[in-house]
């Protein structure tokens, strides 16, 4: 089917910050005042195989809007588009390995003609020492539809908790904590994408 071989991947290295995290390229805040949906803050740390924080990683997210529609031409679904919501974010990690986003909880998007997926956010991780990026998904621990999510069914039950963000509240804001463990005990589930 393919006619051209793919270009290989190489690490983002240690010095991407000035280019990829410049003021108008990093995007922590995905929402505008008019954006539909429940405001949430996502925060977490990136950790390595020694349990040490990773201060030189970049986390990107991609998500549907509150109605379950992606702002992308390939999504021709019936759910309403929200012109104020692009759905993509990018955060570096700080010296303590922390990343964060302010966004909305996504709606459910289709899996196939019959089934919906549970609300989730696609998460991609880049860093020095990663020759390929890592792809995972953040789900919501307090979401009842997780039990019927078709993608979670592919994940061994004992590892599913690594994909569930933990709900918290702080100063009236809803926080979802999602740590990304690159290696070792509690290693986050990564997908072959």
């Amino acid at each position: 089917m393919s006619t051209l071989p793919l270009t290989s991947s190489q690490t983002v290295g240690p010095f991407f910050g000035p280019a990829l995290l410049r003021e108008d390229a990093e995007r922590h805040v995905l929402v505008q005042p008019e954006t539909w949906g429940e405001r949430i803050r996502i925060e977490g740390r990136v950790l390595d195989g020694d349990g040490l924080v990773v201060p030189d990683a970049m986390v990107e997210i991609w998500q549907a809007n509150a109605h379950g529609r992606y702002n992308h031409p390939a999504d021709q679904g019936a759910a309403a588009l929200d012109e104020t919501f692009l759905g993509s974010g990018r955060s570096g990690t700080d010296e303590e390995g922390n990343y964060w986003f302010e966004t909305i909880k996504p709606g459910r998007v289709p899996f196939d003609r019959e089934r919906l997926q549970a609300p989730h956010i696609c998460v991609t991780v880049f860093s020095r020492g990663l020759l390929n990026h890592l792809a995972t998904r953040m789900y919501f621990e307090d979401e009842s539809t997780n039990a019927e999510d078709p993608i979670l069914q592919y994940v061994p039950e004992e590892r599913r908790s690594t994909l569930l963000a933990r709900r918290d509240e702080r100063e009236g804001k809803t926080i979802y904590r999602f740590d990304i463990i690159m290696q070792g005990t509690g290693e986050t589930v990564f997908f072959n994408l």
Binding site: M1, T3, L4, P5, L6, T7, S8, S9, Q10, T11, V12, G13, P14, F15, F16, P18, A19, L20, R22, D24, A25, D48, G49, D56, E60, W62, Y70, H72, A74, D75, Q76, L86, S88, V109, P110, F111, D112, R113, E114, R115, Q117, C122, S127, R128, G129, L130, L131, N132, P150, I151, Y154, V155, M182, Q183, G184, E187, T188, F191, N192, L193
Partner: protein, 243 residues
């Protein structure tokens, strides 16, 4: 950790993509996942992806020789780097964001963690970006980066390279990689480049000198095409009943 062997965990095509763990590149040892990646069907979530979300891209962003500010020009061999972004069916990928970064002509990055005694160039930031045009063509004007020393192993030097970040049409297309220059004796010594498993795949990371791109009395030309995964399936082609 048990029986760690190089090449155990690979993303996608094993002929093309490096393993996550490649011991010669030391930083992989504590950052590579140890549990195999999970294969899942592609869904709407992976067959869509960020668009060219940075709105204010200007032509000046693609000129790394002058984008450090008014007046000055970066020192070094001026080069044009151009090529096409294609999907693996050969279709051009139009209007997609490319971000690049590189060391200066002396091999020094403008970054607080880069402290080796190579000189900084006040007229070189080492970063640029552009969108591909309708034919998938990108073009940067820059200077040829120098080789760069690092602490991976004794007397380690990275070959001259330019980092590229590419989005492409969907999440499955996302690619961060590095472009190298032809005939560099450091290629054979570089664990990052040699983590790519096959010679053919390594060769495709090396730009070609192209005299047709070279401009007289101005700049040398290099051509480098980037091939990303296409978003083949549409939601309507997803199998009924999924798995």
């Amino acid at each position: 950790m048990k029986n760690i062997t190089i090449g155990d965990i690979v993303r996608g095509d094993q002929e093309i993509f490096p393993p996550y763990l490649y011991e010669a590149y030391q930083s992989t040892r504590r950052r590579a996942p140890m549990i195999p990646l999970i294969n899942v069907p592609l869904t709407l979530s992976e067959l869509t992806g960020p668009g060219p979300a940075i709105s204010a891209i200007t032509p000046e962003d693609a000129d790394l020789t002058r984008n450090a500010g008014p007046g000055g020009e970066a020192i070094g061999q001026r080069i044009i780097v151009t090529g096409r972004v294609l999907d693996d069916l050969g279709n051009p990928v139009p209007n997609t964001l490319l971000e690049v970064w590189q060391a200066n002509a002396a091999g020094r990055y403008l970054h607080k963690r880069d402290q080796w005694p190579g000189p900084l160039d006040p007229n070189f930031l080492g970063m640029g970006r552009c969108l591909t045009n309708e034919e998938g063509v990108y073009r940067f004007l820059t200077i040829r980066p120098g080789a760069y020393p690092w602490k991976n192993h004794p007397n380690a030097w990275r070959p001259s390279h330019i980092h590229f970040s590419v989005f492409g049409p969907a999440m499955v297309s996302r690619l961060v990689t590095q472009m190298y220059f032809p005939d560099d004796p450091l290629h054979a010594l570089d664990p990052i480049m040699n983590a790519v498993p096959t010679e053919n795949a390594r060769k495709r990371l090396i730009a070609a000198y192209d005299h047709a791109v070279t401009e007289p009395e101005w700049a040398l030309g290099y051509r480098w095409d980037i091939v990303v995964r296409g978003a083949y399936a549409t939601p309507f082609e997803l199998k009924e009943g999924g798995r």
